[in-house]
Amino acid sequence: MAFSFYQEFYKLCHRKLAWIAPLTLLILMILTDLSIGYNESKLLMATCYNAPDWIMLILVVVGATTFSMEFQNNAILTLLYKSPSKALVYLSKYIVILIYNLWLHLIAMLFTFGLHETSLNQSVSWSTLYRYQQPLWENMLKTSAIDVLTTTFIISLIFLLSCLINSNSIVISVSLLMVFMGQFISDNLLNSEKFTQILRWNPFNMTNLTRQYYNYATYFDTSHLLNQQLLLGTLSYTLLFVIVGYLIFRKKRF
């Protein structure tokens, strides 16, 4: 098992994409700061300069290529027979991407501290009370923690799609559509005001978890779910997607 993790880390660490991603994240955070930082300082600090959206984008690309690179480089057979079980192959890939996800969130927080110190916009103290009557630093930590759960849900979905589709470009396209259009699809479903009690539990709605946490007033009207309900839905769908993804992977012929 340790050797499977070693192999997955080795591959991830040697992919250029994995190292370009934090740099891209920093650039996007700086651009966010420059564009809306003058009147939304507190919101940007609480959300790590909109890092949740940027991290989601990075994870879609990195996650979608995790399986497809094995298919496209003919490495999947070697990987499978060398591993004691298919479950271990799936699990080690999943856990390595989760750790990468955590690492991106930690880096985003470090970048946030750095940007806060060097920002051209008005400086706000980290102890200033903001959402839920909590200081900004606590808002940032909790938003990042919640976003780890949202992105884990997205990774599970990407893994499921990757096991269904071998081409990474198609997986990336479909994943991006689901992540960024999912909210609109969910909005439209719920706007019809029919079967709202059931439709509010649709998986697309769960992509609102992070946004609703830092902007409850706006997003509750969209999601029709309480924060706790969104959290429960996200965790349940994550588990469901992991299990279904693994079952598809297990049955897949190589």
Binding site: Q7, Y10, K11, H14, R15, K16, M69, N73, N74, A75, L77, T78, L79, L80, Y81, K82, S83, P84, S85, K86, A87, R250, R253, F254
Partner: protein, 296 residues
């Protein structure tokens, strides 16, 4: 070491391998031969627990199933295409699987890969990738190595090196299961042959025995070719006919002489001729396709 017992492999509902049984002992070099689509690669994948199958596969007395691969720890393989990540260098591709850096370095030297091993694999030629794939298969002192068309894309020098390496590893007890369409090359390394067609193993013999049993055919020339054809067909005796000259199986020569003489057909010539390994294989496949019938 490896025991394959009554194995049937399925892809979907279709049976690809039927009732395959054979053994591989330490140091054996088995040549797995057969036409395209015969089931060679499927059989290899089955041994590696990569397909749905029933029957039993035991490696060092440990069962291999589709979801139980622990016994495959000491198996190296190159199936279909080398498993190489283009964003890694050759050295890094090896390090990814290697348990011992010295073993890794030794294989790089033996396969003459020193000059390009630190370059990214995306720039490798087919032959370079193939050598790297073979090196990966030979890493970690495997007990069994499964190679599917290992000589693909290799130049003469590399082919000789690979052949030598196979012999060296086999001498130390590593068993090999090798499939190749280049029979002349396979003939130089294997000491046992498995011939497979339509998913059935039709021959499984040590190479010496195989050659002894199948190496000879007899050339037959009679004073009445048309009547000879009729008689052989009537008696379901396999033959090939080329310009009035028949080729028949040695096991049938006494029967043929009796049949012909009873019909007053006389022999002009009946002499043994040697066949190449390739010819024998083609002949056996033809026999299997047509039962005991005829090719003219």
């Amino acid at each position: 070491m490896l025991v394959v017992q009554n194995v049937n492999t399925y892809i979907g509902q279709k049976r690809i391998i039927t009732d395959a049984s054979f053994k591989i002992n330490p140091g054996n070099i088995i040549g797995l031969i057969g036409p395209n689509g015969a089931g060679k690669t499927t059989l290899m994948k089955t041994i590696l627990g990569l397909t749905k199958f029933n029957g039993q596969i035991l490696l060092n007395q440990t069962t291999v199933t589709e979801n139980q691969h622990a016994a495959l720890d000491k198996v190296g393989t190159l199936i279909e295409h080398p498993a190489i990540y283009p964003f890694l260098t050759g050295q890094q591709n090896l390090e990814l699987y290697a348990h011992d850096p010295d073993d890794c370095q030794s294989l790089i030297s033996k396969l003459n890969m020193n000059t390009y091993i630190h370059d990214k694999a995306k720039g490798y030629s087919l032959g370079m990738k193939q050598k790297l794939g073979i090196a990966i298969a030979l890493l970690n002192k495997p007990q069994l190595v499964i190679l599917d068309e290992p000589m693909n894309g290799l130049d003469v020098e590399a082919t000789i090196i690979v052949r030598r390496l196979i012999h060296q590893y086999a001498a130390k007890g590593t068993a090999f299961l090798i499939s190749s369409h280049i029979l002349s090359e396979l003939q130089k390394v294997m000491n046992q042959v498995i011939l497979i067609n339509h998913g059935h193993i039709i021959i499984n013999q040590p190479i010496a025995e195989f050659e002894q049993l199948h190496h000879q055919v007899y050339k037959l020339h009679t004073n009445n070719s048309q009547l000879t054809v009729d008689l052989l067909k009537n008696h379901h005796i396999h033959y090939t006919l080329d310009g009035g000259i028949f080729q028949v199986n040695p096991k049938n020569i006494f029967e043929i002489q009796d049949i012909l003489s009873s019909q007053h057909v006389y022999l002009k010539e009946l002499t043994p001729i040697s066949s190449s390994f390739e010819q024998i294989v083609v002949q056996l496949l033809n026999q299997q396709r047509g039962g005991d019938h005829y090719d003219d």
